[in-house]
């Protein structure tokens, strides 16, 4: 049981939360929704005791809480950017959780973790890997397992499903149902309204730091929630209309990548032409990282050929670790991209003023909610970080955009807006390669698509579109 009253939190001039009341009741799943930058993560951090509110009180089952990290009060949280022991192996991270309070790896701790993972349908990473080297999905799964290992009375989850595969989401939500039956309190932040409606008992909507609604899930619907969240939604996409010559901009021929005796890519062949958005669907860990590494020039293919015509910009899957440098100001984050570096540091000196101005314009044009170009990237909300990563890549006007899980963390309106931008981008005679585990996104957006499974690609036809078959195929595709 956790009751927050009159919570206020400011960051400089930004009002992140303004007199917000919120509660997590035993046996209830309480969904917390709202546009990017609405204050959801801030509220979760405050409930978890990671951040002190400027005003307001939090009462637990045993009376008012002093703000201390939460596990002592039976609260466990999965933060939007998972908080883990980066330099330790994932096993040690679990051993330091509730499974066993010891850094020594007792077999029973691992066995308990393995059972929990199995219950959730989560695959565990390769043994012994350091957390700093894990991919987004692996990190989120690990954070979930860690949180659950404390057997918390209150479980706070900040957008956990965005990084999970569709089949995993289903099992995970089922598990939340079991926790509810056990009398636990669950708080779930999500951008997927359908998810909130099916799994939650109660839904709270935040908008610009204010609570604008708290309704029983049974008494509302997707349209109403969307209106409460963001006002008018942009219209859905119209069909694509590129009529220029379909010259090939990116061509992969029989790409192979082997590492440590494992075949990460196995004969990947694909062409991306002007005017196209080509999709690569698939569950994380089937070679997507390897493909990205090759496209980014970080790995050389063992065999095969890669041809690009024109500049290529990458939007990585992990905005926090690969895309941005959170400690650096926004304008310097722009310079990470090579074309922008060439533009704003053509020779020896940074053209600081120009870069700052450019950044300011970009923030306005892509509706990124930030204090200004000098703010560190860490001050942006998750969704706004994603917008920055996207805006930065598109701003360089590359011929080819390669985007990996591009809508993760974006709210409904921002997702639609982004899809519109990508469509427009392709229609202007350039090309987009979209890697995603969200099939709906792939089918909505792409002119052609493939399924990636165990390092191989196979084209997807219209017949594959029935969602049922997809779920099956995707879960079966896991390596």
């Amino acid at each position: 049981m956790l009751v927050a009253r009159g919570i206020c939190k400011r960051f400089g001039r930004t009002v992140a939360l303004d007199r917000v009341d919120f509660h997590a009741a035993p046996g209830e799943i309480h969904a917390l929704i709202g546009e990017n930058g609405a204050g959801k993560s801030t509220l979760v951090s405050i409930l978890a005791g990671r951040l002190a509110p400027d005003a307001g009180t939090i009462t637990g089952a045993d009376g008012p809480l002093r703000i201390t990290p939460g596990t002592a009060h039976g609260v466990a949280a999965v933060f939007q950017a998972p908080l883990l022991f980066e330099q330790m192996s994932w096993e040690e991270n679990l051993a330091l959780g509730g499974f066993r309070r010891s850094t020594r790896l007792r077999p029973e701790a691992l066995a308990a973790a393995a059972r929990a993972a199995h219950d959730l349908g989560f695959a565990l990473p390769v043994p012994g890997r350091r957390v700093a080297d894990l991919a987004v999905g692996e990190r989120v799964r690990l954070a979930i397992l860690r949180a659950l290992s404390f057997a918390p009375r209150v479980l706070l989850l900040d957008e956990p499903t965005g990084a999970l595969a569709p089949a995993e989401v289903e099992q995970f939500l089922d598990h939340l149902g079991r926790l509810r039956r056990d009398g636990r309190a669950v708080v779930l932040v999500t951008h997927r309204l359908g998810e909130a409606l099916t799994v939650a008992d109660r839904i709270t909507v935040l908008r610009r730091g204010r609570k604008v609604a708290e309704v029983p899930a049974a008494a509302t619907n997707e349209r109403d929630l969307a209106t409460l969240m963001v006002g008018e939604l942009p219209p859905p996409l119209a069909a694509s209309t590129y009529e220029g010559a379909p010259a090939v901009l990116l061509s992969l021929a029989d790409l192979m990548l082997e590492k440590d005796g494992r075949r990460l890519l196995d004969g990947v062949t694909m062409e991306v032409r002007r005017g196209e958005i080509v999709g690569v669907a698939g569950v994380e860990g089937n070679g997507q990282d390897a493909l990205i590494a090759i496209l980014a020039g970080l790995a050389a293919p063992t065999a095969g050929r890669l041809l690009t015509r024109g500049a290529l910009a990458l939007i990585p899957q992990d905005r926090d670790l690969d895309g941005l440098i959170l400690e650096m100001p926004l304008w310097e984050n722009l310079l990470l991209l090579e074309p922008l570096r060439r533009r704003f540091a053509p020779r020896y000196w940074l053209r600081r003023r120009d870069a700052v101005e450019f950044c300011r314009a970009l923030l306005a044009r892509y509706a990124i909610r930030a204090g200004g170009p000098h703010d560190p990237a860490a001050a942006l909300s998750g969704g706004n970080r994603q917008r920055l990563a996207v805006a930065r890549a598109l701003a360089t006007q590359p011929e080819i955009v390669v985007a990996h899980d591009i809508a993760r963390g974006l709210d409904l309106a921002a997702t639609r807006e982004l899809h519109r931008q990508l469509r427009q981008y392709a229609e202007s005679g350039r090309a987009v390669l979209l890697l995603s585990s969200d099939l709906e996104e792939i089918f909505q957006l792409c002119s052609r698509s493939y399924l990636m499974s165990r390092g191989r690609l196979r084209p997807l036809g219209p017949a594959d579109r029935q969602a049922g078959r997809f779920g099956l195929m995707l879960s079966g595709a896991q390596g």
Binding site: D133, L264, L298, D322, I325, Y348
Partner: protein, 353 residues
């Protein structure tokens, strides 16, 4: 990098001063007597002031060396060895420059000193970038090596003509930096240090290289993903860092000592870590920070005479400042901690699925 960022340093200084004052009171010593003694020794006369500046000069060079490397999360503990390497190089050619015109001789000496320090830094850089050897360990080992090489040199190949004392022959008169303010030992080295601190600031915060360095220091993973040349930056940075320290050694030779002897550095390279941390790695703040430490060193004897407390007390003050700063300044402390715990960067280019 704003002036506000330096507030924690000032707070740490005040708190350290307070702690020391309380301790002195408990020991029955008047803190004001000790403080006046200290200030008098450091700033009480023109000669005291210039001496403070002279003491601060090698700390500026080494402080800049440390700051530059630390900004890239390269924990160069080896400024001392690099300074000695520079001094040995300078002291080695110094006696041979008798026929050179003065400006040329001095420039050559300084250049050789920078090269010597740079070479010493390069070793650590190469090991780190190519072999993933923790620079914390390699630079400490290189400190010992440099000290031993110096000892060997002044007992052997560089020993002065009479072979009576373990020190090198004096450098040629033409290679000595003039002392314009005699009898004070103040020299152009201080001015050179100040100019370099400005240049280092421009390098770090205004240049493309500085940007790459800071990016790599904050997130080697993101820097690699975006194709910043991490290997090259690591090596270049440790070379530059070593060159700065080596230059400090050469300045010391050309202006002050004119020769080499065994205990050439009293640990400037280590004290410089404190100097750089108090300056929050801001090159411009390194000058006042180094002067502060120089003043402590310079005033210590006077304090001992005036208040009867051991001169070692200043080392306690220095240590307190650092501990307080690291304890309360979470960002720098955390980064340093992270670096010391796992100094070698993960190979973020690693592909796995």
């Amino acid at each position: 990098m704003s002036a506000r960022a330096l507030l924690p340093s000032l707070a740490a200084l005040l708190l350290a001063a307070l702690l020391v004052a309380v301790t002195l009171l408990l020991l029955g010593v008047s803190p004001t007597r000790a403080a006046t003694g200290l200030l008098d020794g450091a700033f009480g006369s023109p000669l005291a002031i210039t001496d403070t500046l002279v003491k601060a000069t090698p700390l500026i060079f080494c402080g800049l060396a440390v700051a530059l490397a630390f900004e890239g999360a390269l924990w160069n503990i080896g400024a001392d060895g690099q300074l000695i390497a520079g001094a040995v190089a300078a002291g080695g050619i110094g006696p041979r420059l008798a026929s050179w015109p003065h400006p040329l001789a001095v420039s050559a000496l300084l250049l050789v000193g920078a090269l010597g320090g740079g070479a010493w830094g390069w070793i650590a850089g190469w090991l780190r970038a190519r072999r993933n050897v923790s620079e914390v360990i390699s630079t400490i080992m290189l400190n010992y090596s440099a000290a031993q090489i110096l000892a060997w040199a002044v007992h052997g190949p560089l020993i002065e003509a009479s072979r009576a004392f373990p020190e090198s022959s004096a450098i040629a008169a033409s290679a000595r930096l003039q002392l314009y303010f005699a009898p004070s030992r103040l020299n152009l080295g201080m001015a050179l240090a100040a100019v370099l601190s400005g240049l280092a600031y421009l390098y770090l915060y205004r240049s493309a290289w500085g940007f790459a360095l800071r990016a790599i220091g904050r997130s080697p993973r993101a820097a690699t993903f975006h194709g910043l040349a991490t290997t090259r930056v690591i090596i270049t940075t440790l070379v530059l860092s070593g060159a700065l320290a080596g230059l400090g050694g050469a300045v010391q030779v050309t202006a002050i000592t004119h020769r080499l002897y065994e205990a050439f550095s009293p640990g400037w390279g280590y004290e410089a870590i404190a100097v750089a941390l108090v300056a929050r790695l801001n090159p411009l703040a390194i000058v006042p920070s180094a002067i502060f430490f120089g003043a402590l060193d310079n005033g210590a004897q006077a304090m001992q005479r005036a208040a009867g407390v051991s001169a070692v007390l200043v080392q306690v003050i220095e240590a307190l400042v650092i501990i307080i700063l690291l304890a309360f300044d979470s960002a720098a402390g955390r980064r340093l901690g992270r670096g010391l715990l796992s100094p070698a960067t993960p190979d973020s280019a690693e592909v796995d699925a």
